[in-house]
Symmetry: C2
Subunit: 313 residues, 2 copies
């Protein structure tokens, strides 16, 4: 019996995950390999093809309709990855073309946050929704804006850069060269940056200080769960900046829900009670008490593969 | 010979304009009446029906397919006007239903900026564009965001409130009850407010001061054309705030163009050279030197009627 299957690939800054997925979102086989260690993208593609080959053979190559891939700075229109600060390859990489030639499959590429939005729409928390915002809170802040049931790609495929909204005028220096971008505050790296700034300015002994330079968003979460005052205040501060910015996004797209995914989103109500409170306080009255704040309904390990594969359907 | 015609109605804060329009945007007859002076909306509807009746009779009622109407706070999904601060009727007005019953025509309602966006897309500066932002700079700031060729209405029809983006945290008090909204700075009333603030703080004799409380955006334009220093600086300040905010909007929707309409937009390059410069300076590099800044291509007097009528097609 023939089936329709998709190959889903998530190209992350550290690891690349891939899997064989059916239309209902069932992953029949999956694997992972490092993204780093291949200075030349051709070598990365060759290694990825070798890693994926056994999965394709087992599923039956003739059953694979196409490949969907998500990557930081991936462009849906051009199939290129352009100037991705968190990937090893510089400049503009014709990723979709390279993968398609290597795998012998049509390849659709988009950025990782857009892929996550499609995944949530097909299999997760946004099922049945036509207007929502997907926000990924990881190393940076990514986003996918869905309106009228379609992703907003913009005229050139680059729309959805929530992470580079100016949250604080003349604020922190961002990796993009500008100042005050949301992701310098409201990402896993942003909250750690806030923690280091605060610890420089205070002599309070906190559980966070013991971590030194190795402090992570996860450490902050653990400390907050143990009621560490600075850790709790870090969520307050971060939630305020994120909530204020989201209020502006609601004014533009009036979404049914905002769905959060990524490392920092694991903080749960310790962070999102603040996000929600500051968002509501900054909303125009016609938007108040309407926008659902949701966590991704997809398991972390599978979400990226599901989102990427969903591009195929 | 039968024709397909639309009745276009623009309900403004001061006047209501209406006209008979064909599919190509040709206005065969038009008129205007005051919006104010009817404390009860039923009386307004009766007066409007009486004013429109001769146009419908002349065009041949059987040729009129439907009515499209634009109004501040008009909701495309519900046909209601909800809490419009610039209209005489308070609360929620079922405008589409009232008009439809009175005229005996199907009525489609949306807000005035969305109507303007549709008008530009069909007949004006956005012909052939699928991704653009329409910005109306009048008494307030209105906007219509178009993505993938469709207006972004949001889940409830209230999307596109660019005027209520927070441009300055803890800034000026806005009519909506919040602080720092874009329209308190970058509208015809906003720039006059800036002028009054500056004149309170300075004893410089300027041509603006002579206008006193009667100062208008038009006076500022006239003074700037005569190289009045404060008037020119008012455009600089206003352009900076508008440009910075638009940079954030580009990051979200990556439009091909931003199209400006309304009283303040008549300032032309005196204002928009600043808007463009500050927008570009605040854009993420992938968006730089790509977004067209355009003026509405529709004649002022006709644009609102054309936009409203375009809802019908």
């Amino acid at each position: 019996m023939t089936q329709e299957l998709a190959l889903g690939i998530d190209i992350g800054g550290t690891n690349t995950s891939f899997g064989i997925v059916d239309r209902r979102g069932k992953i029949s086989a999956q694997g992972t390999m490092p993204t780093t260690g291949y200075p030349k993208v051709e070598d990365y593609i060759a290694a990825l093809a070798a890693a994926v080959a056994p999965l394709l053979a087992e599923a039956g190559k003739e059953n694979i309709v196409a490949c969907g891939a998500g990557a930081p700075n991936g462009n849906f229109f051009t199939g290129e990855i352009a100037f991705a600060p968190n990937l090893p390859w510089k400049g503009v990489i014709p990723m979709s073309k390279l993968m398609s030639e290597s795998f012998g499959l049509p390849v659709t590429l988009t950025n990782d946050a857009n892929a996550a939005a499609i995944g949530e729409m097909m299999y997760g928390a946004a099922k049945g929704m036509k207007d929502f915002i997907m926000v990924t809170l990881g190393t940076g802040v990514g986003s996918g804006f869905v309106a009228n049931g379609n992703l907003i790609y913009g005229h050139d495929g680059f729309a959805g850069e929530l992470g580079h909204i100016t949250a604080e005028r003349n604020g922190r220096k961002c990796g993009c060269g500008r100042y005050g971008c949301l992701e310098t505050y409201a990402s896993a790296t942003g909250i750690v940056r806030t923690a280091h700034e605060w610890m420089e300015q205070s002599d309070d002994a906190t559980t966070l200080r013991k971590k030194g330079a190795a402090l992570t968003a996860r450490n902050i979460q653990d400390a907050a769960q143990e009621k560490d005052a600075m850790a709790l205040e870090l969520y307050h501060y971060t939630g305020k900046i994120l909530g204020q910015t989201l209020a502006d996004m609601v004014a533009i797209t009036s979404p049914e829900a905002i769905i959060f995914f990524g490392g920092l989103a694991h903080a749960g109500p310790m962070l999102f009670d603040h996000v929600n409170r500051y968002m509501e306080a900054n909303l125009l009255h016609i938007f108040q008490n309407k926008v659902k704040m949701l966590q991704s309904a997809l398991p972390d390990a599978d979400a990226a593969i599901l989102g990427a594969s969903a591009l195929v359907w």
